[in-house]
């Protein structure tokens, strides 16, 4: 059982300001493969417990692991995307410890000889760019999942679901280059984006395909030496990450300020309590007795295969952002928003392919689409308005068959119903009124009903003109062609 920690004393901002925090992140991502890392079992999420198991991933006596070449390929894509140097020799080791979720009594993981080292990732925080070093990337197998709840006899027994056991993971370890919780947040966001772009992982924190642990220490500003670090586990949402880091940094400072010292230990972030708790201290640290796994051959990547992977690399976010600016004339900001996720960028490009004009498409996606997706908690892929439908709507606006204002209403209806723009325009009678006689009739009515405003306007108050336009548009339920309205009113009032 984790020991609970008493609430920490709050540290005054001027005291905190004298300290600098040092953060490194260890991120586990589940690699996007159809089968597990050492056997042919499916990696599908959410299947019936223990449906996706075999002698190998159950660690039955006499079974042997055989490396899934796809998992290696995906890890190589990740290495290239993170500017990592591929190692000449890498090999799997055994990490030995007992736990029911570990059917062999050891986890197969690269240790001494990781797949790749010496990489970097550029992040943006507070408007400044910063390169964060990546120490290493290595492959390993995931453990099973212990189920302590949800069964009639859960008070007495625990169950184990081995579906997750043997899922392919890459562990990506950053250098201790992060100085603020915000930077750590930016790093994780950027890492997720790059890995999604490189088609490495779904990076879905809820499903556990992206997991994060942090190493945290503090030191007085100007001090070169690192302070004693703690490892904080279970930071499995972007929100927890930032909160947990803030908490842990403040805890370190408080301990040091009160004359104590930090003990090197592993701590668990308790989401409900909003604090970190000691899991095990260094004295009780496991001796994992790593040694090279004799069941697996050293990993060898031929230069020709690597070249092939390099050639087939998907476009990465920075390159796409630059391309959006150059090819489609987008602002840096718009290009940034539209490339924030691979799926959103894909959506944007699909709208363009269906004939949507670049700038209007960019603007409609950022305002109308993203707002509604956010409100309804949907992902881009699940958008009820497919890219071609949005392009269709924009074509109607462009051609002047509906006004921009009506367009937004049409979009809302499309989002609700999944129908096309044409269907909704026809059904709601939203097409624009171009008929000058009809518009003149509406204008006359407005002018006649507002003699006082007419007097003001004629006395030189130009400002009231807008209210005439507004009244006409209101009368037409937004459908009147604004240009004709303007011209007609000017003539009538003139």
């Amino acid at each position: 059982m984790p020991r609970t920690t008493p609430a920490i004393a709050r540290v005054a901002p001027e005291v905190s300001a004298a300290y600098e925090s040092v953060i490194g992140l260890e991120v586990h991502v589940q690699l996007k493969t159809a089968t597990k890392i050492f056997c042919g079992c499916s990696t599908r999420f959410g299947d019936r417990p223990n449906a996706n198991t075999c002698p190998v991933c159950l660690g039955l006596p006499g079974s042997l692991p055989v490396l899934n070449k796809r998992a290696l390929e995906v890890a190589l894509r990740a290495s290239l995307a993170l500017n990592l140097r591929l190692q000449q020799n890498s090999r799997f080791a055994r990490k030995n410890y007992f736990y029911p979720d570990l059917p062999k009594g050891y986890q197969i993981s690269m240790y001494e000889l990781p797949l790749a080292t010496h990489g970097w990732l550029e992040i943006e925080h507070d408007g400044a760019a910063k390169k964060i070093g990546i120490t290493r990337l290595h492959l390993e197998e995931d453990a099973a999942k212990n189920l302590h709840e949800g069964f009639l006899d859960s008070d007495r027994n625990s169950y184990i679901d081995y579906n997750r056991c043997g899922m392919p993971l890459a562990e990506i370890v950053s250098e201790p280059d992060l100085r603020l919780p915000g930077e750590a947040h930016a790093y994780l966001t950027t890492l997720k984006r790059v890995l999604e772009y490189a088609d490495v992982s779904d990076c879905n924190m809820e499903e556990g395909s992206l997991r994060c642990d942090a190493n945290v220490s503090v030191r007085r500003r100007g001090e070169e030496r690192f302070g004693i670090k703690t490892e904080v586990k279970n930071l499995n949402s972007f929100r927890y990450l930032q909160r947990a880091l803030e908490y842990e940094i403040e805890r370190h400072i408080a301990v040091i300020e009160s004359g104590g010292s930090i003990s090197q230990e592993t701590r668990l972030w308790n989401v409900a309590e909003g604090r970190s708790e000691s899991m095990r201290s260094k004295e009780f640290a496991h001796d994992y007795r790593y040694f090279p796994d004799p069941d697996l051959l050293p990993v060898h990547v031929s230069t020709s295969w690597l070249a092939e992977i390099q050639r087939d690399m998907p476009e990465l976010p920075t390159a796409r952002r630059r391309r959006f600016e150059q090819e489609h004339g987008l602002s840096d900001y718009d290009a940034g928003v539209l490339t924030a996720s691979r799926t959103l960028g894909d959506y944007f490009e699909a709208v363009l392919r269906a004939g949507g004009p670049a700038k209007a498409s960019a603007s409609w996606i950022q305002t109308e689409l993203l707002r509604r997706l956010n409100d309804s908690g949907l992902s881009v892929e699940a958008s009820p308005v497919p890219p071609a439908a949005l392009a269709g709507l924009l074509a109607q606006v462009e051609a002047g068959s509906i006004t921009g204002a009506s367009g937004k209403k049409v979009f809302a209806a499309m989002f609700e119903s999944g129908k096309s723009a044409e269907e909704i325009i026809a059904a709601q009678g939203l097409s624009q009124i171009q008929d000058t006689a009809e518009i003149e009739r509406m204008c006359r009515e407005v002018v006649e009903k507002n003699p006082e405003s007419v007097a003001k306007y004629r006395a030189g108050n130009q400002g009231v003109f807008k209210s005439f336009v507004g009244l006409v548009m209101k009368a037409s339920r937004g459908r009147a062609n604004p240009q004709i309205v303007n011209e007609t009113l000017k003539r009538l009032l003139g």
């Binding site: 002698p55 660690g59 039955l60 006596p61 006499g62 055989v66 004799p294 069941d295």
Partner: protein, 485 residues
């Protein structure tokens, strides 16, 4: 009482079985029944079999009899009455590794070697006794009692594959599979007076072989003659997509190469193997055996293999280190024995405490120590370096010679209980076999005369994937009367 293998009546071989089936002189069902009777008669005193698989045996027999009835071709090993060491997984048939910890465990799959033999027509009679998890050289470490040597009932059959060797020697099977980690096929072959082969590491898939020491474990056959070994090797060798350490090196025609002339082949005799500790009667027989090879035209060359003296220590560090990890999975959670305990840790401790025997526990502790932080470099890592030097000794030797000839064991079969209280003496007796295990080369033990009625084995090492040469030499030696030197 000394018995000869032929005292059990008809001496079947793989070919004679197949021919008898094809000629309808016996049906596969009758043959199976005959072997079941032999087992019933001899096994109670020998304890070579731990479990029998009559249903599976008769199902295969019926299939073969069907082929005969329809006049179809019989597969290469049709009807071969086969025994399989209990560390090889057999689908649906209890596989215990002669340990209490795997009591009642029925694997859901077959070991690749077993599957290949059955596909070639072999009839699986049952599972044979061995030292627990293949750890031992006398078969006295079985949780289900020791095996007796059919040639001398008061003596051990050797180990760890003692049950497989005894089953073949006593005529309770025509051939058997064993596993060899540090000599566990060759030494019981030598003790029971039958030929036995350890293939090159990677020559035969380990899939389904319940691991003792993964970088050393190999599946190997026992038979009544070298030709049968060659037939079995030709069936079980070759790459396997279930084992990445099984090499996809082409498998030559082992049987076809048996009769190639051995004249002019250079045989190396390492002087380091004929040092202190070698029983003088065994030495005499081995010298006689080497003379016989010379009479066949082989050229004898003296060799130095300077790292031989470190082999036993190196072997026991590497093998126990790997074993400590391989045996971690027996934790009571999923299969086999589970002792009840109030906490998870208590359950682990009680299960492993009750499930493993003394020798297994000793090796797990040794291996755990060798891998521990602070000791890893001095023990495990250094052992790996010495292993590389031993392999280099072999590679250099094979620059000068075609094969290396040594005793299989420094002593003839000893009495049951003779070394029970001295594990170190037992470890040291592995001296001639562990070198080849560490180097990964193939080795065979062939009968080489007897001393006071007890068999002596001559060991022949070949180059990696050079099984054909080893079999050829052993075959020539056997034909020239090696068993009677």
């Amino acid at each position: 009482m000394i018995m000869t293998p032929t005292s059990n009546g008809h001496d079947w071989t793989i070919d004679s079985v197949r021919e008898a089936l094809a000629d309808k002189r016996i049906s596969a069902r009758e043959l199976t029944a005959e072997f079941c009777q032999r087992i019933e008669r001899r096994n109670p005193e020998l304890n070579a079999y731990l479990a029998l698989s009559p249903e599976r045996a008769y199902r295969q027999a019926d299939y073969l009899d069907g082929l005969v009835a329809r006049g179809e071709d019989l597969p290469s090993l049709a009807g071969l009455p086969l025994a399989v060491k209990d560390v090889l997984s057999t689908k649906g048939i209890v596989t215990t590794c002669a340990s209490h910890i795997l009591e009642g465990y029925r694997p859901p799959f077959d070991a690749t070697a077993v599957e290949r033999l059955e596909r070639a027509g072999a009839i699986l009679l049952g599972k044979t006794n061995c030292d627990e998890f293949a750890m031992g050289g006398s078969n006295e470490n079985s949780a289900y009692g020791p095996v007796r040597n059919p040639l001398a009932m008061d003596r051990v059959p050797g180990g760890s594959s003692g049950g497989s060797a005894a089953a073949v020697a006593a005529g309770m099977a025509v051939a058997a599979l064993g596993t060899d980690t540090g000599g566990s096929v060759r030494q019981p072959g030598s003790f029971c007076g039958i030929p036995a082969m350890m293939p090159t590491y990677g020559r035969v898939s380990r899939y389904g072989l319940i691991a003792f020491a993964s970088s050393l474990d190999r599946v190997g056959p026992f038979a009544r003659n070298v030709r049968d070994l060659a037939l079995i090797m030709g069936t079980i060798a070759g790459g396997d997509r279930m084992d990445s350490t099984a090499a996809a090196v082409p498998v030559p025609d082992y049987v076809g190469g048996l009769d190639a002339p051995v004249k002019g082949l250079r045989i190396g005799v390492p002087t380091d193997y004929f040092a202190e500790g070698l029983n003088s009667a065994v030495r005499e027989k081995i010298e006689a055996g080497i003379s016989l090879l010379e009479q066949l035209g082989c050229v004898r060359t003296a060799l130095r293999m300077p790292h031989t003296e470190y082999a036993v220590a190196t072997y026991y560090l590497i093998a126990t280190a790997e074993a400590s990890s391989n045996l971690a999975r027996y934790d009571g959670v999923r299969y086999g024995l589970r002792a009840s305990g109030g906490t998870l840790m208590e359950m682990y401790r009680k299960t492993r405490g009750a499930g493993f025997g003394a020798e297994v526990k000793r090796r797990i502790m040794l291996g755990t120590y060798a891998l521990s932080a602070g000791y890893y470099d001095a023990y495990y890592l250094k052992a790996q370096k010495v292993r590389a030097l031993i392999a280099r000794d072999f590679a250099e030797a094979f620059g000068q010679v075609d094969a290396i000839v040594t005793p299989t064991s420094p002593v003839p079969p000893f009495r049951l209980g003779e070394h029970a209280s001295d594990p170190l003496a037992m470890y040291l007796a592995d001296i001639y076999t562990v070198t080849g295990s560490l180097a990964g080369v193939p080795g065979i033990s062939v009968p080489c005369g007897r001393t006071q009625g007890l068999p002596v084995g001559l060991q022949i090492f070949g180059q990696p994937f050079g099984e054909a040469r080893v079999l050829q030499l052993a075959h020539a030696f056997e034909k020239a009367g090696g068993a009677q030197v």
